[in-house]
Amino acid sequence: MSLTRRDFLIGSGALAAGASVCVPFFLPKYHSVQRPKRSRVAILHVEQYSQQIEQMLASGLRLFPINVLGKTVVLKPNLVDYIPGNAINTHPLLVLAAAESFRRLGAKSVLVAEGPGHQRDTQLVLSQSGYQQCLRDERIRFVDLNRDELIRTPLRASYMGMKDLWLPSTVLEANFLVSMPKIKAHHWSGVTLSMKNMFGVVPGARYGWPKNILHWKGIQESVLDLCATVPVHFVIADGIVAMEGNGPLNGTPRPLGKIVLADDPVAADATCTRLMGFRPDRIGHIREGSRFLGNSAPALIDQVGEALTPPTTPFQVVPEFQSLPAL
């Protein structure tokens, strides 16, 4: 069989067209590998919210080689809405304890920043959830990320297909960003932990309430793009009273008695997921994040503090996530 010039050109064209369609599916969607060689996670046993938290947290932070001397530390709690009796938000006592600890470690300034995803009246959420008084008493500045000054920021991953996002200057200019999630089951994403907590940096004034564009672009995909673009330097997760079931708002409080500290958000979320009785590789953003953002494999995580003991009864989830509790 002889190959004519015409056959060759047609074949080459078809091959090029096929490659241009298929290759993007095999190329990595992240721009660089940010994963550390090893990660460190500490689990602290804390039964209840009390003034003792500060001392316990300070002890826990000593397990990490943290250097915040002269740095601006931004604490990013999970503050969504207030419904009496529901464990929705990171407890203010834990945020205060973190602020005091970082001040003692020599931070130049510590501020609390959040853009609630559901409630537009940020001051009402602050007031109802007990934050306003605590922050005022301790002279801690709060920045409403829903209305902060915005900077166009190129995304460092392309899972959701957007080139850039307008993000708040307070977060982009922070020297040390601490994600402080509430450990919760979530009806759209399975869990909401330190990585999903970064939804709060997306400004509502620009993208709406809830941050609907992220839902349309894919929650797991948005989490990955955000975490690749806005690095989380440390995690303090509030699992003293967590939430199971129909989270993030209408779930049931679940006393877990844990605070999780970590120098890697993927390792933190993998550990929290195991504490909830789930398999981290069944959560899309944790599984994919472990390829380039951080470590989820136990062999790559230095576990300090308490041992990781999965619960006898896994956290309840909505029907779509029934496959999570399969350890």
Binding site: D121, S127, E149, H187, Y207, W209, L249
Partner: protein
Amino acid sequence: MARLGRRQLPCGGWAALRSCSQPALEATCFSALAPGSQSGGVLERAQDFILHTQNPNGSWPVFAGDDPEGAWVTSLAVIALRELVPAIPARSKGFHWLMNCAGKESNWFWKWKFRTTDRHVRFDPDKFGWPWLPDTVSWVVPTAFAILALSQLPCSCGGLEGIPFRVERGIEMLMDRVCPGGGWNAGNGVVYGSPLAPHPDDTAIALLALTDRRQEPVVQSSVRWLERTAPTLTAPWSLAWAILALAAHCRPVDSLVTSLVALPDLSNIEDTSTLALVCLALDHRRALSAFGVTL
């Protein structure tokens, strides 16, 4: 009111937060509507800023320098320019943009998806309104502001014949998205079978857009919910909106105004829109007229 005037930026706009310098349309529109803006050229500079930030497609951006596809603040800009005769062509372009901007569920494909595979949030996709930004679904606040803006149109002619249909659909959408027991939140009344709680500000803004439907049971139950909730509010943004909405529905608001004035740190409010809203609530009759609400 004097503090609000002092926050005006040299460009004529206002930043969303006191500590910022990026002019934002929401803060600018509310500040331009506030009673103190009539003196010393404040209003003229604000209107000039709003006119100059309009996008080529007729919409307005969330802040100066934003991408040009447009956003929910277009409704506020159209309202803020209502008395400016030279702004008529700009407002007309804004009305056209609003008429053509719809929640994504207005498309047959997404309607079908929400009817068949994606049914965790209870809503009727036939009843659509306006999104926060193009290419997303309808939500309560942008829909309510769009209804208020489009209701100020003297006539639906000159290519704007579709507006009565859009306003009617928007009103139906608000009625559909109400929370069980009355009131509105962002737009999710029931998710996974669980009722979600209403928010005072979202409820108040929706009620402002529904002043022509005072006799509807949904409106009446929402007014009652807001009346019960308003005296407990400790945040000026929500309380100010509650005053405006309850006044629009002919409810007494004197005690709420007294509570608003008594809130601590009122003059140190960081959020400019909140400060402007407080000024508007203190002069609620004039504010309602600016929003096109007749008592």
